[in-house]
Amino acid sequence: MAARYEFSFAWAGPYGLMTRLIEANVGPGRVVLDLGCGFGPLAEPLQELGYEYVGCDADPTGLDSLRTRGFETHQIDLTDLDGLAERLVKITAERAVGAVLMLDVLEHLPDTDGSLAQLRSCLLQLDRPLLGLSIPNVAHYDVGAKLVMGAWDTTPSGLLDDTHVRFFTERSLLSAMRACGWYEIARHDVVLRHSDQHFPVDHPALADGTPLRNLLWQLRRRIGDGLTVNQFVRLFALGAADVPPEQAPDPGGGGRFLGVLMRTQGKRMHNLLEALTCLAAQTDQDLEVHLLVHTARAGVVAEVRDLVADFAPDFSGRVHVHQVEEGGRARPLNVGLAAATSRYVAFLDDDDLVTADWVERFRTGVDSAPGEVVRSVTVDRRVVRNDDELLLAPYQAVGALETTHDCRFNALEHFSRNRTPICSFAVPLEAVRSLGIVFDEAAAVLEDWNFLLNLALVCGVHDTGHVTSIYHRWEGAEGSAGAVSREVWETTHRLIVQRLDAGPLLLPPGSAGQIALMWEKALILDHEMPAHNTERAELETKVGRLEQDKQALEAERAAVEQTFARERSALERSFTHERAALDAEVAAARAEAAEIRSSTSWRASAPLRGLGWLGRRALHAYRRAQG
């Protein structure tokens, strides 16, 4: 045994943490069998806790040390699998074995699966004691970041010990264990932000604070798969080995091309029927549908299942109905993401519609740009729901198609506003899973925008340029636009931008030019602003003066109007007086005339006045005849 493996015991190290696990999970008085024990640094602590420690190793150096410290030891070569089980049974004799430890051993064995199988056979004979493992994590951030940059620095011991023949990540360890029937029951991993691989310390992928390190760190952190775990310290129980080993990822996806995640609350069954009909009519039928029924009511789910069953079996057989009882708008989408087995996933809410080439265009886009987010174009249509039972149509369009969404994706513009409705893009499921991206369930709105941006910035976006979906904008309160206040939208938007601001961003090619142009425009505006401000101030002064003039003129006008009214009133009064006097005079004259007409002389001269009238008429007729 090389002196390099003579480690000291520390409660915060793997031996101390394994001792804690034993203490918490194994009853005292039992044998703890330490395979590949080396110098057995945890022998004394376990003994003090009441366990009977037995050390086994192929190298006698460590065993000598243990024996001199008073512990039972046996020389066993774990690479010699034949007869291992019988030997261990013989060593333990009739004693009760509480746990078997393999600390920093498995990664040294050339045939991991064979060793685990042998161990299984052996531990079955020992009445299934727990198995304690301590294994270095090859996916620690330091190792991964350096490997991305082309560095693989082996060392005499540590994460990249130069005698390791097998390397484990969180997933590969659990997968290998499950394949042999070992199920994890407890863990107490060693977490180190900076591992023994954290060198050179100024490497841009390692040094805290560099954009490169921060970018890689935030991508890894999303996955949460042992980012800072230095050593897996785990306890496993032995169960049935009936779980097949995890399959290697199939680059082709394995399942269908497209998984369509469709949210419904089962409240708009007619719209759901229409959306499903659109999918059934796709020219490319290499799709599966995950119909996510967001309701606690079993009756609604049954109704949805009946609706699906009405479709032709070649389609309905590919529609998987999931009930999602809890959560907000995003929960069903996350349930769908977890259930999908397709290469890509796309999203269609139950009240939107797609053209027959929706899937086909996604497929063509993926063929051109595999691994990228594929984006088509959506058009909007305003619709109203008819709640009156007398009306035949459950809903109606009230406007022509509106082209409000851009044909080309612009990442920079998307920081400001979402120009890509959820029904217009498809994302690679591998990216979703490997980046650990899900829909934000805390968001009341804009969950799709956040999801899209997270993927688009890492995967890139390929535009098909074709219109393939129709987004229904419901008039009135229906739909999230009407149901949620503007304040919630704005707050959610700010949160999304703040999250993006928390780390470096990957921008698509061409962004530098766009930003430079925007910056120049901003500078020009800044430059022109003082002149504009001066001009504006002058104009405002002018407006102020004009306002004053206007007020003066209005005051003058009011005065004139007052004078006019006064004079008019005086004139009217004067006129009234004069008219009254004249009326009195006329009345007096009339009375006098009446008196004359009623006199005898007036009546006697009446024939003469009649002759005079006839004469005047004859003279008038003669003159007219003379022309």
Binding site: H270, L273, E274, T277, C278, A280, A281, T283, Q285, D310, F311, A312, P313, D314, F315, L353, V354, T355, A356, D357, V377, V379, N386, L390, L391, L392, A393, P394, Q396, A397, V398, G399, A400, L401, E402, T403, C407, G465, H466, V467, T468, I470
Partner: protein, 301 residues
């Protein structure tokens, strides 16, 4: 077939379709038939394909498999006839209906996909003996023509998916295939049905997918034949339904700024006029014909 329940014949006229389109359509038609039979709206449903393509779209082997699938799915029969000549949609439909004694005929485009409820919903309005024909709500692009929101009455019905009483179809002698090869044949048909005193009804709860594409300006992508046959159809309609003023106006507009296809339609119109091959003017046309702008009904948007 259960006695007392009507029989439905689904007629599809083909012209150079992809075989895959038919393989998508047949199970969907079968599902719609199963729904209608289950809901006791129909007693039996059959499918008849008539092929106007130069070469048969469906081979013997595919036909046998389709027939087996259709039979398994509950369709009464599935037939296929290669016409060996291009009769147009109207002529093809008439040929398929020859000799039919079915209670109802569903005229269906090959680029459609019936929703499961299609037949049930379309058959329901016929409980009114005055209803002569019914059309459906189209996806993904709702047709803009107006209809009575309560009764469903419409000026005309779309021939892409139109269910007609068999005796009404026969009474109007089917489509006027002599004057309407493609386009406007359904408008002419609808107006003649109404002239017989029957109602033409739009049923918005009956759903059919009709494969229409949208360009980036938000317009429906026109088919190559639409310019010529759409214009010729309009000229025929304005003449047949006694609107000489609109006929002249249309010709003048096309001559002033029409496309090559539209001008070719005017030429064809004149050729037929000279040959005395125009339809007779329909008596009482004004009572049914609606010319609103360039359309044959008021449009809602």
């Amino acid at each position: 077939m259960e006695s007392g329940l009507p029989s439905v014949r689904i007629q599809v006229v083909l012209f150079r379709q992809q075989l895959g389109d038919l393989w998508r359509l047949v199970p969907a038609a079968a599902a719609a038939a199963r729904h209608a039979i289950g809901a006791r709206y129909a007693g039996a449903v059959t499918v008849a394909f008539g092929d106007c393509s130069p070469r048969p779209v469906v081979g013997d082997e595919d036909l046998r498999t389709m027939q087996a699938v259709a039979s398994e799915a509950g369709l009464g029969a599935l037939t296929y006839e290669h016409f060996d000549e291009n009769l147009g949609s109207s002529g093809g439909s008439n040929r398929l209906a020859e000799g039919s004694t079915d209670d109802f005929i569903l005229v269906l485009n090959p680029d459609t996909y019936p929703a499961p409820n299609l037949l049930s919903r379309m058959l329901a309005p016929f409980h009114d003996a005055h209803v002569g024909a019914v059309d459906a709500h189209q996806l993904p692009l709702e047709h803009p023509k107006d209809f009575d929101p309560v009764t469903g009455d419409a000026s005309w019905l779309s021939g892409s998916c139109m269910l007609v009483r068999g005796d009404v179809f026969r009474a109007v002698s089917g489509f006027d295939s002599e004057h309407f090869f493609l386009y406007c044949d359904d408008v002419d048909f609808s107006w003649r049905v109404r002239l017989l005193g029957f109602r033409t009804v739009h049923e918005p709860r009956a759903v059919v997918f009709h494969d229409k594409r949208i360009d980036t300006a938000g317009r429906i992508t026109a088919t190559p034949l639409e310019g010529f046959y759409g214009s010729l159809g309009r000229l025929m309609l304005t003449h047949k339904f006694d609107r000489p003023d609109l006929l002249e106006e249309t010709i003048a507009a096309i001559e002033a700024g029409g496309t090559a296809d539209q001008r070719a339609a005017v030429d064809e119109w004149r050729r037929r006029q000279a040959a005395g091959a125009l339809p007779s003017v329909v008596a009482g046309a004004a009572s049914v014909a609606q010319f609103v702008g360039g359309e044959y009904a008021r449009h809602r948007f």
